[in-house]
Symmetry: C2
Subunit: 523 residues, 2 copies
């Protein structure tokens, strides 16, 4: 038996070496799978009790799981902007100063979007001859200058905004669905989502778009970058007919099951084409589960506190799996503090490119972590708007500000921490703790239930806002130029009334007259 | 490569067949590993973020994981009595009627213990020639008539009561440690636990006891039953020096790491002796994590509500792994609703024995689940004392009574649901819901945060106390005989003053004079 094992291993080594020799010195394909509002606790491998993600669990078993991987913001747009720029929202413009500590995203009446001055990942990857495609939600501005094909993507199939409304195309235009430069229909019209049954074929369409793109690039022997930003797990959650009613977790679980199945199909295609060892995949989510949509349309943040919109762990700690057979050793768990922004720098590194040197980049190159199991000392910063709410250094997390949502919202039933209530922590007024931060040890208390006492804080590395790393971080933040503060203004006529291509479909709507005003962000 | 795989597989099959042929038609060895206050969320495989249980995670990967496995009670003694008798505490006497819905255990001043009329698993396994040993905590009564060697065990190394005090042997005797019939010392004396540093060698001693027992039985070719009831994860938690300070989770994590390492060593011994395929192991815990001891000395209940002492999921849903290489297919997750009591019936089945037919047995034979992936429809009942607090049928859980603990205790800082507060659910008075049970769907809402509305309830199978299964269950409960209600009386002189063997050690203490009184159970 021992001899057989040895021979078998030798064969594997030889065959791997052979594969390497066959390929040109071409950089690996890169697939970033970004889920929408999926929570840390939604994966079987992260303890979801119904265990309905066999493909993702297998992906983790074949790759590297990151239990401490963070979004750059507890909300979709800033988080996505950070991923594609490698920079915190405070640097790339995805924040406002309209209200203190307000999360900001891009609803369809927003005037702004991703600034031209930002270098996006697909744009940079073009230098290494990558074919680039975004499938799914863009969410970095819907006006023509913000179009993904103006920011480095060769192809797009998906929507500029979220599918959570409007639903009737009267007071507001329904969100358009684009193929490349032109709209090919709208949600709830050509691309129906049945709000009553939850049925929609969108995940199947997004899957096909991804499968087709991969096959096309493979036949042309071209390295590809696929940004697969699907949104079935964002309320209103949806699934296609074969998945509806199949989950123990209700409709949200149906959506997760379809996502999981799709991931399985994508990995299977890569294996079938013989390019699995030439394709780096990272699976994660844009922010924590939207507990405000619970119980029917929200995921799980496992043992963590609160959810989307908050800077507690439940708002920003993400499911995260890296997969690259033959390169990332199988079955690893990395305790690296990781960030969505690292996917920017790591992708560039995979392509043999350097990140831009004329600006601060917050993302790290994770390749030493992925390939050699290194651990890189780095902080995690938690923002709302331009306010640094909290920071994690090692196992210590310091809250400089706490806030869930306003009493007014809370009394209306809007609750980002349903069933959870920690005195002085889950506050409904914006509480400042900069003089003596609320400190937690995330190893001993991942649920942020027990603030450490003042006495204990003395010994802790992240004990106060004055710690070196936080200071260094704040110092490195150049005040954004006025043009870069791009999400300040909203305007009714700026909505998706008449996207390019609407004429061909006869689906142009007439925008009303109105003046831009300051955007208002309730939380 | 394909040919090599084939050849390799063939060798494995042949070698497995060979092993089977060597053994006589002897029933498999049985090892039940029962942890103390370990929570569902403490295993890496159940999502503990620090992922510090590689051996248990591997055990799960090689065997079958049960995400929906339940204790028979949210407290140690009744739970252990249920495991060893296959019967609910309401049947085997491990409850009282002294206070409504009070959990009851066996402190050292208790007069009662496991009734003679109960047939314990080791006693029954003797019929199939099993050598039987308990290592660790007994907790079914410390007076001579309740001694484990009077109830079927051949050997014992461990303690009759919990190690959580007393600590000074003055007002009360410290808890003795027994080898078989005689005490060989006491906690905090011959068997030190350093309350300041958390250092104790007990897990190492319990590990050695288990390893030695296994080796001895193997050399005698005798089937064995090992009940490994170790207690390092019960407050005050402890670990031996090599493990202290090694966990990211603090001292509780140190204890878990030592437990995990010990499990790894036990499995390795079985592999080394070539009897892994002849040994059935089940790993679980006696009740949920004791959140009242958090944050320093408690584990995690993952996404579930509350902890030990309560009939919410956090009180009774347990980590659970079955392992029997070559018999239980590797890498399985079973959604069977399981119970600690099933380990009684399943063990008998493994030994080729029938459970007693003269009484109600609540445990199921899980072999069809383990070996063939069947799912058996069965309810789960949640008791406190003699009160049926809740029942689960399928995915629906109905609470007939809710209660965490009294306002008085709560105001003193005793909190079984720290950071969790669900209006009308986590109540501090005993709230009756028998007319319209509080209903939850555990698939969609494992955290019991969202009671279903009255309207929804109509469609649910466990919607009211009148459902068939609950009625049938209550009907099958014969009123216990007065002698069987054995935990009613406590008495100061009944403590471990002078256990057998104390003379040899010169460690007999003189009991004071006092009269028995009703035990008082605050929660």
């Amino acid at each position: 038996v021992a001899a057989a094992t040895k021979w078998w291993r030798l064969l594997l080594v030889l065959s791997a070496a052979g594969l390497g020799a066959v390929g040109a010195p071409q950089p690996p394909n890169i697939v970033l799978m970004l889920m929408d509002d999926m929570g840390w606790g939604d994966l079987g491998v992260n303890g979801e009790p119904s265990r309905e993600t066999p493909n993702l669990d297998r992906m983790a078993a074949e790759g590297m799981l990151f239990p401490s991987f963070y979004s750059a913001n507890p909300l979709c747009s800033p988080s996505r902007a950070a991923l594609l720029t490698g920079r915190l929202p405070i640097r790339n413009g995805f924040y406002t100063t309209n209200g203190h500590a307000r999360n900001a995203y891009t609803p369809q009446d927003i005037v702004g979007g991703i600034p031209d001055s930002e270098h996006l990942l697909p744009e940079l990857l073009k230098k290494a001859n990558y074919a680039t495609k975004i499938v799914g939600k863009w969410h970095l501005g819907h006006r023509p200058q913000f179009h993904p094909l103006k920011h480095g993507f060769d192809e797009w199939f998906g929507s500029p905004n979220c599918h959570f409304g409007p639903y009737d195309n009267r007071a507001k235009p329904n969100i358009p669905v684009y193929r490349d430069w032109e709209m090919v229909g709208r949600f709830y019209e050509e691309f129906p989502i049945n709000l009553k049954t939850g049925e929609a074929n969108l995940t199947q369409i997004y899957l096909q778009e991804a499968l087709d793109f991969i096959k096309r690039q493979q036949s042309q022997q071209r390295p590809f970058f696929l940004y697969w930003a699907i949104d079935a797990t964002h309320a209103p959650v949806y699934a296609s007919k074969p998945f509806l009613g199949t989950s123990q977790r209700g409709r949200y679980g149906d959506a997760v099951r379809e996502v999981d199945d799709s991931v399985g199909q994508l990995l299977q295609l890569l294996r079938g084409l013989g390019i699995a060892e030439h394709t780096f995949i990272f699976f994660t989510s844009d922010n924590g589960a939207a507990l405000v949509s619970a119980p029917k349309e929200a995921g799980s943040n496992g043992p963590f506190l609160c959810g989307k919109q908050t800077t507690f762990e439940g708002g920003v700690r993400e499911p995260a799996i890296a997969w690259w057979p033959g390169h990332i050793p199988a079955g690893q768990v990395s305790h690296q503090l990781g960030s969505l922004m690292d996917l920017f720098t790591t992708s560039l590194s995979l392509a043999g490119l350097e990140p831009p040197s004329d600006r601060e980049i917050d993302g790290l190159d994770l390749l030493p972590v992925l390939l050699r199991g290194h651990l890189i000392d780095r902080p995690i910063f938690y923002y709302r708007g331009n306010e640094l709410m909290a920071a994690t250094v090692g196992q210590y997390k310091a809250h400089f500000w706490t806030w869930t949502n306003s009493w007014e919202e809370f009394r209306q039933g809007i609750n980002y921490c349903p069933g959870q209530n920690i005195s002085g922590v889950t506050t409904h007024t914006q509480e400042e703790h900069t003089a003596l931060p609320l400190l937690f040890h995330l190893g001993r208390d991942p649920g942020e239930r027990y603030p450490l006492s003042e006495h204990t804080q003395q010994a802790a590395p992240a004990g106060s806002r004055d710690t070196g790393e936080t200071l260094q971080h704040q110092h490195s933040l150049r005040p954004p130029s006025p043009g870069q503060v791009s999400l300040e203004k909203c305007s009714h006529p700026e909505q998706n009334w008449a996207p390019p291509g609407c004429e061909k479909l006869g689906k142009c709507l007439t925008p009303p007259e109105s003046a831009p005003e300051k955007c208002s962000w309730p939380h």
